[in-house]
């Protein structure tokens, strides 16, 4: 029994036991369902082993939505706990665990896969490619992310969740002050998911540089592809820092090193420094694809080309550089002097300039446009004002002298939610609605979609604006309760109501997916929005090889111009297409990573060594594996294309 005691939850409650039962029942239901409907083979052949960027994108999408609900439940629990003074719904320890997992899940396991989903699905189509540069590596990226996410989610039923905040600052996150295995989960689950992200970064840079359609020069790429390129460059430069910091943190926790200890020459604040060297670029990794999505949606529904294409590109390049120069503004109160703080204050304010350029470019794109308010456009229109308020309060926080007042208050919480929610969540929901017909061959219901957009936007405003006030009144973040005499009660109650509205909005989105899957017309054109970029030149849903004939591009809005001048982008006849084979390698290797991670978390050294040998075995096998893919011949291609209407 002694062996199994380590897996017990250190701080159990009825809520956790209920979730254990719920998780158990769900797993049984899924396994039973797959067996009953004989879907195991289908699942394995079509999805688990796929190397098709579109299917990988869809798997990212569903993981992200799943994690959105996990993180959303955490959020509702926090708001419920704070809704009234002296509440006892959660105790201090549970509250700590809930805000930690909320942060990690939302940033790393919701927002990241959501942008990966859209990048995976859209970028190869937009540049006229057949797949990403390294399809199997792409599958490995996804499965590493997925196993990291699952490992992290296991924590709250086995061994206990991390409780040192999503920033996991040392010395609090060290062994002396965080005695449960929770923080081990944090270190190792994020490490595994982060490896996947780093591979995606390399994969997409190679794809965008090397696999563009003939004629598509860099300055003729669609803006979402540009945003993805810059994002992936930031990923490649920022994620290694996280990898190193997490490895050092893991060594401190598992092997007794003193990198971040307060004794024996350790520097506890070095963690905060390294974390934010990654953490601030990470913010831009999240926001730039969102900017790219808005830059696709706004021109489409304003019926005009994007205003200031070159300045859009230029501002993103500047943002990518500046994003590496501002990190210390996350800890102005750490103890460095006025000189160091001033430098980081100035770089922080400088980054508002390129962001402002982008906002004005979108507004000028709308100017004199023929605007159609569809659901994606509605999200984009709601994004601009809310994001601007979030951004401007960020400049307030960036002034180091004033920051001593705002630091770690609800004012900060209000600020970053008001940039991340309109910036990332609205963009992802807009992108989801916009590209949904391309993914699944039918459109989401517009009426339900608009209701959801309004609910999500008003919920965001009601939930987070009151925090500006309670924060300025002195309510600290991460405080699990407060007394009635503080006067914070009314603001937190308002926030709780807002969180409720947000929740209804998200439920409506799920209902919309269900409703449209059941009732929406399957008879839609390949280009239902009258859009501008190459992905709409493929039939919906897109065949595995994307383009039967590689398109030839001669302008920025090539597809739009081709539609208007009634010319075809596709010249020449069908040729044989070389396709990659599916492979079980990525999922098997990632599953072994899961075992390795779990073993390390609980210090099960024998299992860890066996798993590490297994991973090395997978790598060696892959090195000597002969896999030349397969060919779709021109005749087969012609037959398939005739069946689905042919390239437009």
């Amino acid at each position: 029994m002694e062996f199994f005691e380590r897996f017990a939850i250190p701080h159990p409650s009825p809520l956790i036991y209920a979730s254990m039962v719920a998780i158990g029942l769900t797993v049984i239901a899924i396994i039973a369902g797959l067996t009953y409907f004989k879907k195991w083979g289908y699942l394995w052949r079509e999805w688990l082993t796929t190397v098709d960027h579109k299917r990988i994108g869809i798997m990212y999408l569903f993981s992200a939505l799943l994690m959105l609900f996990r993180g959303g439940v955490d959020a509702i629990m926090m708001r419920a706990q704070l809704a009234v003074p002296e509440n006892t719904f959660l105790d201090a320890q549970h509250y700590n665990e809930v805000f930690t997992t909320h942060g990690v899940v939302m940033i790393i396991f919701m927002a990241m896969p959501f942008i990966m989903a859209l990048m995976n699905f859209v970028v190869p189509l937009q540049i006229g490619a057949r797949d990403v540069a390294f399809p199997r590596l792409n599958a490995l990226s996804f499965w590493l992310f997925f196993m990291g996410a699952m490992l992290f989610n296991v924590s709250f039923v086995i061994g206990g969740s991390p409780d040192a905040g999503w920033t996991s600052y040392f010395p609090l996150a060290g062994n002396d002050l965080s005695t449960s295995v929770g923080t081990n989960y944090y270190m190792i689950a994020i490490q595994i998911a982060g490896l996947g992200t780093l591979m995606t970064g390399i994969n997409f840079i190679a794809t965008i540089f090397k696999m563009r359609a003939p004629g598509m020069t860099l300055m003729k790429m669609p803006m979402f592809t540009w945003a993805s390129l810059i994002t992936n460059v930031i990923i490649v430069f920022a994620f290694p820092v996280l990898t190193v910091a997490l490895a050092m943190g893991t060594f401190d926790r598992l092997f007794g090193t003193h990198f971040f200890a307060t004794t024996n020459g350790g520097m506890d604040m070095l963690w905060a420094n390294l974390f934010w060297i990654w953490g601030h670029p990470e913010v831009y990794i999240l926001i730039l694809p969102a900017f790219g999505i808005y830059s696709e949606i706004i021109p489409t529904f304003a019926g005009r080309n994007l205003y200031g294409y070159k300045s859009m590109v230029f501002s993103m390049v500047i943002i990518s550089l500046l994003s590496f120069l501002v990190w210390a503004h996350h800890f102005f109160t750490m103890g460095q002097g006025a000189f160091a703080n001033s430098i980081f204050s100035i770089t922080t304010m400088a980054i508002a300039v390129p962001t402002g350029i982008k906002i004005f470019n979108w507004l000028f794109t709308l100017w004199k446009g023929k605007i159609r308010i569809t659901t994606p456009m509605l999200y984009s229109m709601l994004f601009i004002p809310i994001f601007t308020i979030g951004g401007v309060t960020g400049v307030m926080l960036g002034m180091s002298a004033a920051d001593y007042q705002y630091h770690n208050t609800m004012f900060l919480v209000a600020h970053f939610h008001l940039v991340i929610i309109p910036g990332v969540v609205f963009a992802m929901l807009a992108g989801l609605t916009y590209w949904w017909p391309k993914m699944f061959g039918f459109m989401l219901n517009e009426r339900l979609g608009k209701w959801a957009a309004w609910l999500v936007a008003s919920g965001t405003i009601v939930a987070f604006f009151p925090m500006f006030i309670s924060g300025l009144d002195g309510q600290a973040r991460r405080m699990y309760t407060y007394s009635e005499s503080t006067g914070f009660g009314i603001w937190n109650m308002l926030s709780f109501v807002g969180a409720g509205i947000l929740a209804i909005g998200f439920v409506l989105i799920v209902y919309n997916i269900y409703y449209s899957t059941r009732y929406a017309s399957r008879d839609i054109p390949a280009d239902p929005w009258n859009a501008r970029s190459l992905e709409w030149a493929t039939p919906s849903p897109t065949p595995a090889y994307n383009f039967a004939i590689t398109p030839e591009v001669d302008s920025r809005d090539a597809f739009w111009n081709a539609k208007r001048s009634k010319k075809s982008l596709f010249k020449g006849g069908y040729k044989d297409i070389h396709m990659p084979n599916n492979s079980g390698g990525p999922i098997i290797m990632s599953a072994i990573f899961f075992v390795l991670g779990f073993a390390l978390i609980f210090s099960l050294w024998t299992v860890a060594i066996i798993a590490a040998v297994g991973i090395a075995g997978c790598l060696i096998y892959r090195s000597f594996e002969q896999d030349h893919g397969y060919h779709i011949t021109a005749d087969e291609l012609k037959e398939m294309e005739d069946n689905n209407g042919g390239a437009k």
Binding site: F209, V233, F237, V241, M267, M269, L270, N273, I277, L321, F324, L325, W327, A328, M334, G335, Q336, G337, F339, A340, N341, I343, F344
Partner: protein, 94 residues
């Protein structure tokens, strides 16, 4: 036969061996810490550049512009991160 002899690679290999030997001197000879660090930094970066250009073929393809741009960009980010960290953790710490 002269054209077939990989002169660049052989010279590069010898030079990289010399750089390694010079770096090793820091261990075997008595010298002040500062001097040792300078020797190590110089030999390390020269070595990295040599490997990139001679043995990893950085400048031999059409996309050498993109390759060098990413290397310079990476170096700029690395140097700025290090200087910023020193500023925050040591120089500017009160």
């Amino acid at each position: 036969m002269k054209e077939l002899f990989p002169k660049k690679q052989v010279v590069g290999f010898l030079f990289s061996l010399i750089l390694t030997a010079v770096a090793l001197l820091v261990y075997f000879l008595e010298m002040p810490f500062g001097v040792g660090m300078i020797v190590l930094l110089l030999t390390a970066f020269t070595q990295a550049g040599l490997q990139l250009v001679v043995f990893m073929h950085a400048g031999e393809t059409k996309d050498k512009g993109a390759i060098y741009a990413s290397i310079y960009y990476g170096m700029i980010i690395a140097i700025l991160s290090i200087l910023g960290t020193l500023l925050v953790m040591i120089w500017g710490y009160v």
